[in-house]
Each structure stands twice: as C-alpha cells, then as structure tokens.
C-alpha cells in the first residue's frame, strides 16, 4: 500500500522503533527563541548535559522585542532579562543567535524559510506552536513544549507516536480577491478547532498547487488552529524554485541529490488517509472571525451568528460567551463592525507578499479618521525588501505606522498591545480572549481585508472600496 507524504517523511526520520514505545524521531532543525528556552537550558545545566548538535540549532529574538527604538535598551526589565538569558545561554552552549539589530533577526518561522534552512522532507521543531508553518515545504514542522526543547537540545531526537493523516483537498480555483488566509480560516470554521487533533493535515488539490510558497506558509501556519500539530503540502516546482539559491540550500551534486529525493515525497496515488475533507475553492469569499477562537468565523458578507443557530449545547454556550466578550449582537452584518486598530504582521502574514498585498490596497488612499494601523514586517530582511520597493512610503502616506521586525501585536508580550475594549482587525492567527492585550477584541483577517478595513473603518474587503474614496 502506498504511503502519504507525512508517513514518508516520518519513516525517514525514525532512529528507533520498538513495540510499546513511541518512535524515536531524528530532528533535522531546531529553532529556538527567548520565551520557551530558558528553563530548557537550565535543565541541561542541572543535569550536566550539552547541546548535541549546535549545527542543527538556531536562535532568534522575536516574541519580546519592541518594534520601535530598537537601538535603545529594552524598557521592560523582565523582557530584557529574558532576552539576556537567551544571549547568555546561546553563548554558553555554542548556538548561533540572531540578536535584535542583526540583519538576520526576525520571527522564527519567517527567518528559517527565507535563509533556505527550511527545505522539503525535513523534521523541524520549535518551542512555538506555529512551527507548523514549515510544513509548506513538505516537511514535518511541529510545535513543542519546553521539556521537549530540552530533550531535542540534549539528544536531537524526540519520542513521538505516529499521527493519523487527514487530506484536505481544495478543488477548483480561488475566486479573485480570495487569499490563502481566507481559505485557511474557512477550513478551520469547517473542521473546528479540535478537528485536526491527533492528525497531520495534508493540503492538496488545484487551489493549493496554485498558491505561492508564502501563501502555502500561511495555510500550514494555522494548522494548529484546527488542532493539528502539523500541516503539510507536497513539494513541487514552486517549492524547488523558492529554495534554490538561498544560502543554506544545497548546491551542485547535493542539489541534484536533494531534488531527486524531494520528488519521491508526494503522497502515493494509492495512499490511504485516515480522513479526507473536500473543500470547493470556487465557493469561497473573504473570511473573517467574529468570536474568540479561530473556528468562530464566517464570510465577511454574513451576519454575526446567534447562539440559536447551533444545535450542539457546547457550541451554543461558546457562542453566547464569545458574543458577550466581543460585544457583538447576533444578526448584525459583519461588515458593520467598527474597528479601532489594524495590525498587519506575524508569522501568519508578515512576509513580503503580505505587505505587497496590503500596500496595493492602500496606495494613494488614507486610513479612516481615528484608526490606528501598524505594519510590522516579520523579519529584518522582509523590512529591507519592502523598503527597497517603497512599500514603507505607501504605508506612511496612508497614515500607518511602519515598524521594526518582531512578533509584535500577535501576542501581548511586548509593548504592542490592545487596550481593554479596543477592537482590532489582525492578520495574525489567534483571536482568543486577551490574546493581543487584556480585554482586547480580535478579528482575524487577510492582509487585503486588513488594509481595506483600515480605509473604511469597518470590516471590509478591497471590493468594498470600489467607487469610494
């Protein structure tokens, strides 16, 4: 019987398989950052252990860092202490760290693909749930906890039970104006925040093949929001072309050997998935969230749902709680929801194509009166590339703030936060209560919807701008 992409990559990394034990899986690349690593390094120190493969490990500073005044010391002493701990730990254990101010610094899931460290057929882990991003290359990318970070540092392996596999087949073409973010939000609403638990997802079908690598990264990034630890897309010419020539990409005979191997990875025609979900891309439209988990979403053209729309008692209660927290009334058009702050950035939508998409909408326009808009590139390289294209000027002329690279307002760990009651349209990945700051209210959107919303002041798509302003 044929094997799926996930099974092939998994099998090729099994160090040890024994009855009654999890598989011991080799890890090709370990990404670390300041938040989930200090206790792991302390654990190594306490046990007198070293880092097994410093050459397969990299660190960067992203979650805590400010996105303004980065030449000054970090104002928050606790954040500064955590960054300092990473610097001390990486120096002591011999790991390369891309510090704030380094041209390679940025969000951990942006920097590995852009430097060519992320390639097809790898196992990649990081103490961050959005490690699923790297699945866009046909790798298994998984978020891990701090105990597992310590385990990988010490052994370069992880004991894991194999996952079930789920195919998510997206047939047809996405209509104009519908992006990978809309698609993944619609998928999460369809299968639910627990739908992917225990599975590795494989996105496939015509609409997926047509996506750029950056669009694919947005899809895989949010697999965790459907409960799946990893999401994958089979490598193809789009993938090879993206990797080719990047500084960590193989060259010469190694390149040929790598491509030959990568071509063996796509799921076999007779491979059997444990579950399959089929999505019709042609029926999709811009999609946003109205509630407090990423599964609580609807088309922008819809109205806010009522608890009575749900038959399941758990869903009813969850909807009631979400509407109360979000201060929304059932039945109101989603397009009428007024927004205070627009955030463009994060490991979900902080890449150059995302910034281009937003700039295209904003070019020659102004954001609404009283609107705050922050544009935060995912890495220093993305920032420099955007500036070379003049995108920073487009944002500034529209009235948006152009920031330095970091996780920023995706999570309330740095100075970029919502105030209690403040409502955002955000290109990030989580709309949990208080995620962007205590009491803050989040609507997840695509970069194009974020930009159109900033102009109109209410949740909007670029199509809503036609004929106005």
């Amino acid at each position: 019987m044929g094997r799926t992409l996930a099974q092939k990559v998994w099998d090729d990394h099994v160090v040890r398989r024994a009855e009654g034990e999890p598989d011991l899986l080799y890890i090709d690349l370990h990404l670390t950052h300041e938040v989930t690593s200090p206790q792991a390094f302390d654990g190594l120190r306490a046990a007198g252990r070293s880092v097994r493969r410093t050459d397969l490990t990299i660190a960067t500073e992203d979650h805590n860092v400010p996105t303004t005044d980065i030449d000054k010391p970090i104002a928050d002493p606790i954040s500064r202490a955590q960054i300092d701990a990473l610097r001390v730990n990486t120096a002591e254990f011999g790991i390369e760290n891309y510090e704030l101010g380094n041209k390679e610094q940025g969000i951990v899931h942006i920097i590995a693909p852009q430097s060519g460290l992320t390639q097809p057929g790898m196992t990649i882990v990081c103490g961050d749930s959005h490690t699923s991003t790297h699945g866009a290359f046909g790798s298994i990318g998984m978020g891990i906890g701090t105990s597992e970070v310590e385990h990988v540092l010490a052994t370069q392996t992880l004991p894991l039970n194999p996952f079930k596999t789920m195919a998510i087949t997206v047939n047809g073409k996405l209509p104009a104006g519908v992006t990978s973010k809309d698609l993944i939000l619609a998928i999460i609403a369809e299968i639910g925040t627990g739908g992917g638990q225990g599975y590795i997802l494989e996105y496939r079908g015509e609409a997926i093949r047509a996506l750029s690598m950056e669009g694919r990264m947005t899809m895989c990034n949010m697999s965790i929001e459907a409960g799946a630890r990893a999401g994958m897309i089979a490598p193809d010419e789009t993938t090879y072309e993206y990797v080719r020539g990047r500084e960590h990409a193989p060259t010469g005979a190694d390149w040929d050997a790598a491509v030959a191997y990568w071509k063996t990875l796509p799921s076999d025609a007779d491979a059997v998935f444990d579950k399959e979900v089929i999505i019709d891309a042609t029926k999709l439209s811009p999609f946003v969230t109205w509630g407090t988990n990423p599964g609580q979403g609807a088309p922008l053209s819809a109205t806010v749902p009522s608890p009575d729309d749900f038959t399941d008692e758990v869903d009813k209660v969850a909807t009631e709680k979400a509407l109360a927290y979000m201060d929304l009334t059932a039945g109101m058009p989603i397009r009428d929801i007024k927004i205070d702050t627009v955030f463009i950035g994060s490991c979900t939508n902080g890449r150059i194509e995302d910034l281009r998409a937003a700039a295209e909408v904003l070019k020659g326009k102004k954001i609404a009166d009283g609107m705050r808009m922050m544009v935060v590139p995912g890495s220093v390289r993305v920032r420099l590339e955007a500036m070379a294209e003049g995108l920073d000027k487009v944002f500034a002329e529209a009235g948006a703030e152009w920031r330095e690279a970091g996780c920023s307002m995706c999570l309330g760990m740095n100075p970029d936060k919502l105030s209690p009651g403040e409502r955002s349209a955000s290109t990030s990945n989580r709309n949990f209560e208080g995620r962007q700051g205590p009491g803050g209210r989040t609507h997840l959107v695509s970069p194009a919807v974020a930009a159109a919303t900033a102009i109109r002041g209410t949740l909007s798509s670029p199509a809503d701008l036609v004929g106005s302003n």
Binding site: Y26, T57, T157
Partner: protein, 195 residues
C-alpha cells in the same frame, strides 16, 4: 518527576470549552525564566471575576480540574502546565485535549484523563452539588470515582507507564545514543546546517 499511581482530591468544575493556553496563562507571565512560581498567572484574567469557579470558597484546595472539550488549545507554552501544577492541580479531566498540551502534561507529571463529555457533565453535577466530594483518579486501573459514580478514562499507555515509574524522558533516550549515532552517520550530505 514524582511517581503517579492514585490521586484523591476535590474537584473544580470549569464549565467552558476551548480553554486555550492564553486563558490558562496569559503571555505576560511567559517572560519569567524560572520553572516554578506560575500559580499567580493561572486563569489570571478569569480570576478577576469573583464568581469564577476557583474564587469560590467551596472550591479552595482543589487538585482535580474538570473541563469542557478542547482543553489546552493554542500556544505550545509549557507554562500552562506549570501554572496548573503550581496552583495544586494533579489531574485535568476533559473529553478532548489539544495535542501539544497533552504532551507537555505527560512530561511534567500532570495527568490528562480523557473521558466522554457525558462523564464530564456527570462530574460537574456531582462536584457542584457537593464540592467536598473526594474525586479519586486511579492511574493503574484507569478509573475515576466520585460519590458512587465510576468511569474509565483513556491515557496514552507509554505516558501512563512513565508517570507510574516517574521516569525522565531524556535519560531514557540517552540509553539509545548508539542508535542516534548510527542514524547520524547515514544522514544525507544535502541536509542543511545552521552554521
């Protein structure tokens, strides 16, 4: 890690689904670099509400959390597990746990017991009617008992063995270092290096 065989304690009924790790412990608390002392961050936003279950006088000193489906979704922060344990929880009971949260719990010795939602409802009812009811979680038998109600629970068999033996994962893996070396010797040369 301490060995886990049987635990008896009082329960807290958390009537909520999709309790994500940002609710269990908000990001602000993740800036600390220690492994203990996170009890103040546990459910910190919800604890501001005096009616929140953990604020009620009858639910002080609890050690068994009974929650709705999809507990521990979202971020991979192990701080969520540390906060629950620092507060005094030994067991979380739910019909469904997020994968990463469940994995983190297993590493730290917090038992995540999976039961049907109907059993969760039954436990909520028992605890709300008589908060002092002892809830017993027997890992050897995989049984939860409370006031005459008994239910089986599921737990990964390897995690169960490790919890019962109190074993450290890294120590177990390092017994197989020769197999790791053999694997490394065969890795293709095209695999990337960070330096």
């Amino acid at each position: 890690m301490d060995k886990f065989t049987v635990h008896t304690g009082t329960g807290a009924p958390l009537r909520a689904s999709n309790v994500d790790t940002d609710q269990i412990i908000p990001a602000e608390y993740l800036k600390r670099i220690t492994r203990h002392g996170f009890e103040d961050g546990l459910f910190s936003a919800w604890r501001k509400d005096e009616n929140f279950v953990l604020n009620k006088p009858e639910h002080q000193g609890v050690s068994v959390l009974v929650a709705g489906p999809d507990f521990g979704t979202g971020s991979s922060r192990e701080h969520a597990v540390w906060a629950l344990m620092d507060y005094g929880f030994k067991v979380v009971i739910s019909s469904r746990f997020a994968d990463i949260f469940r994995g983190n719990s297993g590493k730290q010795g917090l038992l995540t017991a999976v039961v049907d939602q109907s059993a969760v409802e039954q436990l909520w009812k028992i605890i709300e009617e008589a908060p002092e009811t002892p809830v017993t979680v027997d890992l050897a038998e995989q049984i939860i008992t409370a006031a005459g109600f008994t239910t089986k629970f599921e737990v990964d068999s390897y995690v169960r063995w490790r919890l019962m033996e109190g074993l450290d994962d890294i120590g177990l893996t390092l017994k197989h270092v020769d197999e790791i070396e053999a694997f490394e010797a065969k890795r293709p040369s095209f695999k990337p290096k960070t330096v």
